[in-house]
Symmetry: C2
Subunit: 226 residues, 2 copies
């Protein structure tokens, strides 16, 4: 291990569980939201079957659940008050995931405000429909996924709701897709989020070959290769 000079220059601050619980509510929310590290950022597109109104909301709690069959998970906060995205998904099952790029991350953030009507109309992001899928994609997003709900799991510990969904359609910019199935998120321009409100691009270190005990780690490709 090569040591990072920073780790000697900077002291570590300790927070016990009690110190976190005793902290100001806003401090605690920001702090705990940062602990896991960088998070995925997706705009989730849904529609209300009764009113026909579309909905678009930024989510940082989308994660991989399985490849065979292709499944994705979305964790929703406890459904107190209005939760349009969750309500629409539970009601009619269909939703879209859309990667966010530098060119529209501010609009994506603005979708998190309490708009009375569709966030598409409010922010100027455009709806896109294709291959008969009923939920709206975000036009111009470089990676779009059409999903249908498979299962809803309520986590009794704090009433968050985990939606597990089948991946029905994927649209991805061809220039970012490798022959091995790898999708280059930097070629897509995908944005990542930390905490509640900090947005970042990725800066590649390297792709590393499958790790084996009897071999040193081998770099497949690094930043300089591209």
């Amino acid at each position: 291990m090569r040591h990072d000079r920073r780790s000697y220059l900077n002291l570590m601050k300790h927070f016990s569980k009690k110190a976190i619980l005793d902290a100001d509510k806003n401090f605690r929310r920001d702090f705990v939201n940062c602990l896991s590290g960088y998070k995925s950022l997706n705009l989730i597109g849904t529609f209300n079957e009764e009113t026909g109104e579309t909905n678009l909301a930024p989510f940082s709690q989308v994660f991989h659940i399985g490849a065979s069959p292709p499944l994705v998970g979305v964790l929703f906060r406890p459904p107190t008050g209005e939760r349009h995205s969750l309500g629409n998904i539970v009601h009619n099952g269909d939703f879209t995931l859309n990667h966010v790029t530098e060119s529209f991350y501010k609009e994506a953030h603005h979708c998190g405000a309490r708009w009375p009507n569709s966030e598409f109309k409010a922010t100027g992001l455009k709806e896109e429909y294709k291959d008969g899928f009923p939920a709206p994609y975000v036009a111009g997003s470089p990676l779009q996924v059409g999903c249908t709900m498979e299962e809803q799991v309520r986590l009794s510990v704090n009433n968050t709701v985990l939606i597990i969904a089948n991946i029905e359609h994927v649209y991805v910019q061809e220039n970012a897709l490798g022959e091995d199935g790898f999708i280059d998120l930097q070629a897509l321009g995908t944005v990542t989020v930390s905490g509640l409100d900090s947005y970042h691009l990725g800066q590649k270190l390297a792709r590393l070959a499958y790790p084996k005990p009897d071999q040193p780690i081998r770099v497949i490709s690094s930043d300089g290769d591209e």
Copy 2:
């Protein structure tokens, strides 16, 4: 919305669920693992209470579950064959999360190989113990979290296991912690992962103020500020 020039120059490729299922197994695994976007990267430190042996494994499926009380979730693949980390956590409850930096991401990746003994010994990463917590932290990691299992949820859809854990201790480099609770992951040097094997640093775009319908999006701080 300002349009990204890329989106006009590059065609979108469509994959139906059937096309994904019909693809080569390795292609499918890489492809589906990339769909959610950038993922958190943590080394999970555990120990076997019976043998005393420590274990260290890289995980990209760690996510925020709640702030009050502070809870974190870790999704484990179906427990077929040896799953040391999951077995240790379920058996004695304690584990650590450790952010990974550029200075040791290759060692972190190497922890994913099938080592006969402790990955600490194998890779040269150093164990650190403090405040009476029994599981090993990774010395030099700029953000370390001590956790105890609260609940184990088996997702029947594909037998993955969701571990929900209480956050008992947090150690964070002081220089990265803001007064508002925000932790600057770039100051920590935290690495993010995409797919199975691609490692990245974050490159800040901006922090954005809480979004409101009647106000344009306001930048709190951007890359140039720091």
